[in-house]
Symmetry: D2
Subunit: 138 residues, 4 copies
């Protein structure tokens, strides 16, 4: 499964270089991830209500072109794997003209609200099953 | 009691106008408020640990001059009043050349973690006493 | 003319109180303002390209209820006046259940890129005319 | 040369997980980088005034432990290399108890304000020389 999350760039997301500040892309990735989960049939709000949180363990991002205010970002988002207490997402961003603007990946842990790891398959089999089906085949 | 909170402006706080985005001033006010409480002998971290939070009920701000990256903001901060379940702070910001950059005020409620109001004087007399002493005389 | 700008709340816009951080509302107001201009037939990107910027001179906001991640904010937005080198917008925010969450107003200057004021009616009559028609009658 | 940039965590930098939102670390890296340049005798403000900007080409970060409001972050920052139109920085973050909280690296291009690459050694030999001396030996 791959989803494309669409997002207009806000004025306040630019900096004095005249383009979007690079830290904001991690926020766009988060928005896209939550949209991906929505599309997979999982509400992140409900995941947290069930007692699981998904903190970010690592992010890797390359910036290929800049984004300006009023541009539209299209983020192709997929789930690379889910195993044990971890998952990873991949992102590829394009602007409204189809130009590649960024590529990235994020890894996540599944933990309880006290940040103790949870083995998703065992502790939350329903969430695990939905996520497993949403994993992008190689 | 009046404190002056000093703060260097970060690059990421600017926008494509080339100056600090106006929403960031509310964050500077928050930093200054927490510094004020520190100086009054109250740690906001400890206030929250004790079970009280201070959400913002309202903010009023006038922007008088812009701030650029690498500028230094000096925020004169005082506590206008504490009564019942409310308090109000006042702010006056200057840059490194002594030029007035902003004036503002914020009002806050004292509530428990479930956002139910608490009468500070009755429920947390120690916090109330310290704050009362820190109020700026007219 | 009044527009209603609709906006889902992002996870990263919350803070450890569990609700949206108050500074973000100024960003929502900005998004709503730009949407208002779009609907009035003015692109803020083109306004800036024409050489006019609209820095915020002041903001006044009351917080009536909190917003959580995944809530939907509906911001009723109108233009209160345009005169000389100034304009003012009004905002009223509701959540997905129709509950009032905030009320606010912002005033703006019309300036050139060097922050020198411009008399819109004289210097940019087309922009002035469109804005004048969009002003909310009393 | 290695510098340690010290930074208190702000309340507004947390999210509803109760800890600092992961995107903020890229902002801390930026603050640390600018502090590094200061310590090396280069003001980033002056670098930009001279006509060079240093957009981020990529970031790689691992989160090892969370940071809370009021924690103090110590970011050990060094310059890994400067060559042609590129440079890379490394970061290692610790909290006030000496616990590792993050590790990361960022790569940067040297470009003119129109985002065209500049060969620093040829076009800005003084900046190149100072940076070269500040590179961390292997």
């Amino acid at each position: 499964m791959e989803v494309t999350y669409k997002r207009r760039i806000n004025y306040y997301e630019t900096d004095k270089m005249g383009v979007v500040h690079h830290a904001n892309y991690l926020r766009y990735f988060e928005e896209a991830r939550i949209y991906f989960l929505d599309e997979a049939g999982l509400s992140y709000k409900e995941i947290e209500a069930a007692g699981v949180i998904m903190p970010v363990l690592g992010v890797d991002i390359s910036y290929k072109a800049s984004l300006d205010f009023d541009d539209v970002l299209f983020l192709k988002t997929s789930l690379s794997y889910v195993k044990g207490a971890k998952a990873a997402f991949s992102y590829e961003g394009y602007n409204q003209e189809g130009k590649l603007v960024c590529r990235g990946a994020s890894t996540h842990g599944f933990v309880k609200k006290d940040f103790k790891p949870t083995i998703l398959k065992k502790d939350f089999p329903q969430i695990f099953e939905i996520l497993s089906k949403a994993v992008m085949p190689d």
